[in-house]
Structures are given as structure tokens and as C-alpha cells.
Amino acid sequence: MIGPPGAGKSLLAKSLPSLLPPLSFEESLEVSKIYSVAGLLPKDRPLIYSRPFRSPHHTSSEVALIGGGNPPMPGEITLAHRGVLFLDEFPEFHRDVLESLRQPIEEGEITILRSKYSLKFPARFTLIAAANPCPCGHLNDPEIPCTCTSSQIAMYKRKLSGPLIDRIDISIEVPALKYEKLVSVDLNNSSEKIREKVKKAREIQRQRFKKEQGMVNSEMSIPQIKKYCQIDSRSQTLLRKYVDSGRLSARGYHRVLKVARTIADLELSESICFSHLSEALMYRIENDH
């Protein structure tokens, strides 16, 4: 999420867990186990059934985020397992910390090596990152002029490496709110309605991955993507253009297909249409640096 300060990025992120379907019993036990080891399980409520939401501060160290120490303890990414990890002020995090997120995002778990043994902590989380478009926060703002120099902006953007950006599926701009929007009550897309939509989409996915218990679209392997993400010839032409011109990496290609599949599921569509695919492509961050 990219937007000026105060536009509601953090608020949006915090409301995401309430849109997600509740944890299944197995997932709940898995999460409770992690919290039991970390000593964070509430005494009066020994089972965690809401999806965890973790938002570590941007000065957090690598060990705090990834896990480790002696004895090895789960880090923030493991505590956010099956839930949401929200990194506010994403570019302000230490570069090493951000780069160390690469492997867990891809694999859904983190391996901690010690001289005598190795440990695996699960870390299948939804990453939400929030950032300002530039250091002052008002780049592209129609009202307030940006006071940053172009080199400052370039430096700010360089903090996020290409490989990391490549792993982000959906990027949205969160513009500053106008007064009417701020005070209006939009009942068409209330949380309940969206939750209902999410629930239906998850149900479709449950049917699709009957054999693989509890799997969702984002966990698809490449053969599964080939099987479930068939696209029409028009979409293929569009994707070919993107891949051949270098705007879409091999990983990006598969990720776009997964996102398109999910958009199709949300609209209760059996096949992935051109509109679903182009929407998924639109969400990707263009490599402009």
C-alpha cells in the first residue's frame, strides 16, 4: 500500500484479519502451539481462534522478525502464521531484515540452523506493507506539493530491492481522502458483505483442493497452476507481451496467474477471463527503478 501519511493505510491493514475466514481447528491448534512455545498464550483462553495480526516496529532486528536467539524462539513472522504480518513504514526497515523475508515468503516456513541441529518454524503469513511514495509523503498528491528532490525519491525507492518487489502480488495506491468520502457511509461494501464473498471464494478453493487439506490458491505448486489456471488465447497474448518484454519474471508470471485465479473465484467464475487476468497484472508493481 502506497499513500500519503494519514490516508488510512494502517487502518486498512488492521481491518484485514476481520475479513479473513476464521481458523479451522487444525490451523487453530497450529497457531496455539506457536503461542504456547513463545509463552504468549492467554491463560483464560487456551486456544487461539482468530487470525493473528502482528505489526512489529520498523526498528525490529532480524532475530525479532525471523526468529532465533538462544534458545531459538519464534519470531514475528512465525507468530503471524496463518494470519497477517503488517510492516508499516516498509522502506524504513533495515535492509537485511527485509531481505531475510524473501525465503519465508516463498516457502511458508523458516529454517533456523544451529551447529548441532536445525529447526523449522512455520511462517505462512499474508504480508502487508505500507509505505509513503517519497520521504515527505506527498509525491503525486494533487493538493500538497512534494518537497523531495528527485535523488531523495530515487534513494527511497532503492531501499526495496527488485527481488523483494517481485514477491509482492498486489500493490494499491491509497490516496488522501476527500471530505465526502470521509463522512459518507458506504453500505454496499460493508465488512460483512466482503466477508461473505471471501467465504464463498474460500469454499470454491476448498472444493478445488479436496485432496490437499486446507490449501488455498497462493499455495499452489507449478503443476497445479498449469492444471487450474487455464487462460484464453487473448490473455495468453497479453502475458506473452509482458514476459517477452522483461516486465514480468517467471515467478511473476506464476504469481499473476494465482492472483487472477483468486479474482475469478471472488467473482464466482469457473474460468479465468481476460478481465481477471488484466486486473491481476494491474496490481503488480512496475519495475521503474
Binding site: S18, P22, V37, L41, Y49, Y117, L119, F121
Partner: protein, 192 residues
């Protein structure tokens, strides 16, 4: 004959059953813990000594005893304070001060100097592992009992102090197992 009593270790978010063996012989006073103990485990002997004395038993240092505690498997690093209870009970049984039945039971808990049991971290994985391996009972600090409340088919006994644990093991006191709250939890599961 060395005495055997079972406990568990945490490895990441999984647990492994640990065998605690205790051997006592007459000789120069010493208390050794082997099997890659970390500092917290090695310091266990000090807590155990005081807790045993406070609970009205003979501590190891009041007699010319050599106590050897071995934590097996010996090549796995043992961390944390959860071995206090099995070491204390093992010592009491090996020195013939109590005659308990340790069969098919797992013991977890940190002791304070006055013999009270303190809660430890990571109970849930241990309880799940104990059930998977077919143990019938786990004895742990009272405050941790609720954490294991979701596991069925395993008797979870929460005890408050060392004395109570001894009385329970000698069948002099009944402690009813912590009732599984699983069904209540599943029923009351809030829809988010």
C-alpha cells in the same frame, strides 16, 4: 539400579520425550547433570535441593551422596527449567524416600525454592506429543493445565507443589484430571 522417569524437551515448536535417569551412590557429596544441559538445566540441582528440603524431605546435601542425573538422548541440547520436577521426584524415589509409580507418566515443571511449581513455556506441543506417543498421564504445574485443555484422551494432572505431586503419586491424594474444554471451545467459537 538407576531410576527412570520421563519428561519432554522442546525443539522449535515440536516436542520430544526425554528420559531422565537418576543414580545415587554413597561417596563424596556431588550432584551432576549430564546430557548437554544448558545453564538453566544445570542450575536445577540448586532449586531441587532447596525444594526437597522445604517439602520436608532429606535433600542430597544433608547426606554423603553422589547423585548423577542423565538426560537422554544425550546428544540433544536440553534447555529450560522444566526438568526440575522429574529430577526432584527421581531423586526422592532413588533415595527411597518415596515409593511412587512413574509408569506411563510424563513430568514437567519448574520448582521454586519453597517447593511450589511454576508454569513453563511450550506445554501444548508437549501434551500433543505425549498423546501421540500413547502416554496415559502428564503431570504439570497447575497454572499450565488450562493450556493443555484442548487435548483429549490424556489425563492432565495439574499440581501446585512438590509435596502434592508426591502425595498424588503415592495414591494418598486424589487429583481429578483437568477436564477437556474442547467441546465447549468448539461450541462457543466466535464467528469473526
Amino acid at each position: 539400579m538407576p531410576l527412570r522417569i520421563l519428561s519432554a524437551a522442546l525443539i522449535g515448536i515440536e516436542a520430544q520425550i526425554i528420559e531422565v535417569e537418576i543414580d545415587i551412590s554413597f561417596g563424596l557429596r556431588c550432584f551432576n547433570i549430564v546430557g548437554l544441559p544448558d545453564k538453566a538445566v544445570a542450575e536445577s540441582k540448586e532449586r531441587v535441593g532447596s525444594a526437597v528440603k522445604s517439602s520436608g524431605f532429606q535433600p542430597h546435601y544433608s547426606q554423603p551422596l553422589r547423585v548423577l542425573v542423565s538426560l537422554a538422548p544425550a546428544d540433544l541440547k536440553k534447555e529450560g527449567s522444566l526438568y526440575d520436577l522429574p529430577i526432584a521426584l527421581g531423586y526422592l524415589a532413588a533415595s527411597k524416600q518415596i515409593r511412587p509409580n512413574f509408569k506411563d507418566k510424563i513430568f514437567i515443571g519448574e520448582l521454586s525454592l519453597d517447593g511450589k511449581l511454576k508454569p513453563v513455556k511450550g506445554i501444548l506441543p508437549i501434551v500433543l506429543e505425549a498423546r501421540k506417543r500413547g502416554f496415559s498421564e502428564i503431570i504439570l504445574p497447575k497454572e499450565n493445565a488450562s493450556e493443555s485443555a484442548l487435548v483429549q484422551n490424556l489425563r492432565v494432572i495439574g499440581v501446585g507443589n512438590l509435596k502434592q505431586a508426591v502425595r498424588y503419586l503415592e495414591n494418598r491424594e486424589k487429583i481429578s484430571p483437568f477436564k477437556s474444554l474442547l467441546e465447549i471451545f468448539l461450541k462457543n467459537k466466535p464467528i469473526l
